[in-house]
């Protein structure tokens, strides 16, 4: 990977442990260009009053070369604010100077839409979120994290098309949660992994907050599929509001713990999202007709029963539709495969 002088300077500065992030910004402001800073850092240290570190920077060229070689070897690339494909949308209040990536770099140039949710997501929200992600990934690259629940639902939906960007709160070579190591590799294979953290850095409490600003900053809009009262998904949503982006949320029944945050967003003026059309309309995109397979007569009966009541036990659906329970099991499995219903646990099903 070839980097320009300015890019190299930024990568060096980003990987530098001698300065904290605020000092790095101050240095960049003080120097006419990043490359000038790199060639003569001692000239600008006075702005920080940290002249004493100048000696420690003498090996910077070698260190940078070694770092870039390691990056290359791991198959990672760096995107800097000076890079031509650095997303314009991300030039926000405190943009990451450098992000490391693995996978399809060209996804950075796509339109982007963010889908997030808390770890505890009801199955109907996960299924609906997946379907929305699947559809949106035709016009957008879907931006999300790598956590269980909401993030996972978005990933599942977008994996098929591969237009998927996962932004991690840790170095690209570590994985949080560890159980998603395989999922992470899958995303790297078909989509793009991004992180502003150096390889080897583990996730910290604050890094989730910091990561959320990138999620919100990358995307034109953010959909929150589930959020409790203090969910991290809300941080992303409020960041999106700060950056002037659209925020969508699923409406929840009052009193549902997993949806308190979503309802709060709606109260503050977020778009109500009950299906893919609510998002497509905002972006003036054409909604395609339902691509799901048509239903048989019995399936329609079961689906109508379920639509009327939202969420029901399989035995109750069978009873209402007048179909034996064991046949209903088969019908519901068929409906599930066709993407009309989703299992909610305890033999209960709900519509999508």
């Amino acid at each position: 990977m070839k980097y320009t002088e300015d890019e190299r300077a930024l990568i060096w500065l980003h990987a530098c442990t001698e300065f904290d992030p605020r000092e790095k910004i101050a240095l960049l402001r003080a120097a006419p260009s990043p490359s000038a800073l790199f060639s003569h850092p001692e000239r600008y240290l006075s702005a920080l009053g940290k002249e004493e570190v100048a000696e420690g920077l003498s090996m910077r060229s070698e260190r940078l070369e070694r770092f870039l070689a390691e990056l290359e070897e791991s198959g990672y690339f760096a995107v800097t604010v000076e890079s031509c494909d650095y997303p314009e949308a991300l030039k926000i209040a405190s943009p990451p100077l450098v992000m490391f990536g693995a996978g399809r770099r060209e996804l950075l140039k796509e339109r982007k839409f963010c889908i997030v949710g808390s770890r505890i997501t009801p199955s109907w929200a996960a299924a609906l979120g997946s379907r929305i992600a699947e559809r949106l990934s035709r016009d957008f690259a879907v931006v999300t994290g790598l956590a269980e629940g909401g993030d996972c639902a978005a990933i599942r939906g977008a994996l098929m098309s591969g237009k998927l960007i996962c932004v991690l709160p840790n170095g690209l070579d570590t994985c949080y949660p560890a159980a998603h190591a395989a999922l992470k590799e899958e995303v790297r294979r078909v989509g793009l992994l991004l992180s502003e953290y150096l390889p080897g850095e583990t996730a910290k409490k604050y890094s989730f907050h910091a990561r959320n600003r990138i999620l919100a900053g990358l995307a034109e809009g953010t959909l929150v599929i589930s959020a409790g009262e203090r969910s991290g998904a809300l941080i992303t949503a409020y960041d999106a509001v700060d950056f002037g982006r659209d925020v969508f949320a699923f409406p929840y029944n009052p009193g549902t713990a997993q949806g308190v945050g979503c309802n709060e967003l709606l109260k503050r003026g977020a778009y109500v999202c009950t299906g893919i059309q609510d998002i497509l309309e905002v972006y003036h995109l054409k909604e395609e007709t339902d691509v799901r397979q048509p239903l048989t007569e019995e399936e329609t009966r079961a689906y109508e029963v379920l639509q009327a009541e939202g969420e029901l036990h399989a035995a109750v659906i069978a009873d209402r539709a007048g179909i034996p329970v064991y046949q209903m099991a088969a019908i519901l499995a068929s409906l599930e495969l066709k993407g009309y219903v989703v299992k909610a646990g305890g033999n209960r099903y709900s519509c999508v």
């Binding site: 770890r119 036990h313 399989a314 109750v316 034996p324 099991a329 088969a330 499995a333 495969l337 305890g346």
Partner: protein, 506 residues
């Protein structure tokens, strides 16, 4: 004079003939036992001495040598007492004129001369009959299990004196009459599907599981009737045939847990506690290897309640017996093989708090906690469980239909039909049920129509199923088709099988 008496030692479920040779010589009174007797056998000296004295018989004050042949087999337990006593009597010429040739003597002696019951009598009788012996003297208390062995003269004895009188022809003991085997219906337990309220989906899953010999896992919150459902399993299993009953009785006889009837007429239902050790589950012991829970459940159901609470190593030990239908336990004393073809029925909560999927309670578990909980069960074990069904705690009061209040007998009828279809199908193979099919048989007997194939492929992609899950779904669809008396696997069968699918990671 030398006397030879036949008795039997037990090796696993096989009886091994042992000759008890006694020589009474003139000389300084002594009593020597040779031929690898263990402590319990050596102690028989005192029991035999007292029993003889208290029966009014004579314990010879001579040099006595007792030899057990074959000499290389270790003799264990107290079941040789009677044979030692009889051979002593014969050698000391107290049984002149009595014909003891070809009679097998089995029993432990009490000090007053009573004959005490022994464990493992039935397997010994069956082996001995196979070796050509047809006359047996056994403890009267064991008579019930011996009744079912036809084609042999079996004399049940209360005490030693009775036997001596019988042998001398003074007072003959009446041989046992062969009992007719009758299947017990409904039996002792109160378990019956008609008492299970609601749970139509779980009922159906159990029916399929029994019909195809599939293992089943029930997932549901506490107090939803998982144990109640499991207890009904033996009542819907096919009737116990005599051969099968005899085999189960052998195992229970060796374990010494045979009930009043003397033969097992109901399929066993074993529920080892989750603190069970690997040895108690698989069998073991330092001298005699006792059959473990999985062997005691042979022909019946092994119910593991709260599956994740069992020790991982104990569960892993089940894998091989689940595959082979038998377990070999190796100990210093030798290797013992017990049959263990059982149906595994397990239950577990959906999450640590137990409320996941509940209609009115809120689950407070994080995904990581649930994952940790479920990870206690290994993939290879899950691979051997074809059906997974959710048991819920919904109230069924608002259901109008009453069709799911069938009793066990009705369900068993359907199971019997499905089993018959399977027997015909597998008549040329060494298989009994659909669950035992391998890849080759699946290819031969489970041809899917293009439509069914398409459904399965669709399910495969959408649900991210593994290759093993696919085989399981096909096997279960085959059973559902059998229950439907359908030659071909139709789409609806595949769909239903998919609805009881196993999540690989659970």
């Amino acid at each position: 004079m030398i006397a030879k008496i036949i008795c039997y030692a037990l090796n696993g479920l096989d009886g091994i003939p042992v000759e008890v040779e006694t020589d009474v010589n003139k000389g300084v009174p002594a009593y020597d036992m040779v031929g690898l007797p263990d402590a319990a056998v050596k102690e028989s000296k005192e029991r035999v001495r007292s029993a003889l004295k208290n029966s009014g018989l004579l314990f010879p004050m001579n040099k006595i040598t007792i030899n057990f042949a074959p000499a290389d087999l270790k003799k264990e337990g107290a079941s040789f007492d009677l044979a030692i006593a009889i051979s002593l009597l014969k050698a000391s010429e107290q049984l002149i004129g009595a014909d003891v040739d070809g009679i097998v003597f089995l029993g432990e002696l009490a000090l007053n001369g009573d004959v005490r019951p022994i464990s493992g009598l039935l397997p010994i009788l069956i082996s001995a009959k196979g070796h050509g012996f047809t006359k047996f003297v056994i403890p009267a208390a064991n008579a019930k299990e011996a009744r079912f062995l036809g084609g042999a003269e079996i004399y049940p004895a209360e005490n030693l004196l009775e036997i001596v009188k019988h042998l001398l022809g003074i007072e003959v003991i009446q041989p046992l009459e062969t009992a007719e085997y009758t299947v017990s219906r409904g039996g002792k337990g109160s378990a019956d599907l008609k008492y299970v309220k609601g749970q139509p989906i779980a009922r159906r899953a159990l029916e399929i599981a029994v019909a195809g010999g599939h293992n089943v896992l029930m997932v549901g919150p506490p107090g939803t009737g998982k144990t109640m459902l499991a207890r009904c399993l033996p009542t819907i299993m096919p009737d116990l045939a005599f051969d099968e009953a005899l085999e189960i009785t052998k195992i229970h006889s060796v374990a010494g847990i045979l009930g009043e009837e003397g033969i097992v007429t109901e399929r066993p239902f074993r529920t080892p506690h989750h603190t069970a050790t690997t040895v108690s589950m698989c069998g073991g012991g330092n001298r005699i290897v006792h059959p473990g829970e999985i062997s005691l459940a042979h022909g019946g159901v092994l119910f593991l309640d709260e599956l994740p609470e069992y020790k991982r190593s104990t569960l892993e030990a089940l894998r091989q017996p689940l595959e082979d239908g038998k377990i070999s336990v190796s100990r210093a004393g030798g290797t013992f093989t017990y049959p263990s073809r059982f149906m595994l029925c397990a239950s577990m909560n959906p999450c640590p708090c137990g409320n996941y999927g509940s209609a009115n309670l809120i689950c407070t578990c994080t995904p990581a906690e649930i994952r940790r909980y479920k990870r206690k069960i290994s993939g290879p074990l899950l691979d051997r469980i074809d059906l997974q069904v959710e048991v819920d705690n919904i109230s069924y009061d608002d259901l109008t239909s009453s069709e799911d209040r069938e009793d066990s007998a009705t369900v068993r009828e359907r199971v019997n039909v499905a089993r018959r279809i399977q027997r015909n199908r597998f008549s040329k193979y060494e298989l009994n049920t659909n669950a035992e099919m391998g890849e080759r048989e699946i290819g031969e007997f489970c041809r899917l129509s293009p439509e069914s194939e398409r459904i399965l492929r669709n399910a495969f992609e959408r649900m991210k199923l593994s290759a093993r899950a696919r085989a399981r779904i096909i096997k279960v669809s085959r059973t559902i088709a059998d229950l439907d008396s359908s030659e071909n696997i139709l789409p609806k069968h595949v769909f239903e099988a998919v609805s009881y699918r196993l999540d690989d990671k659970l």
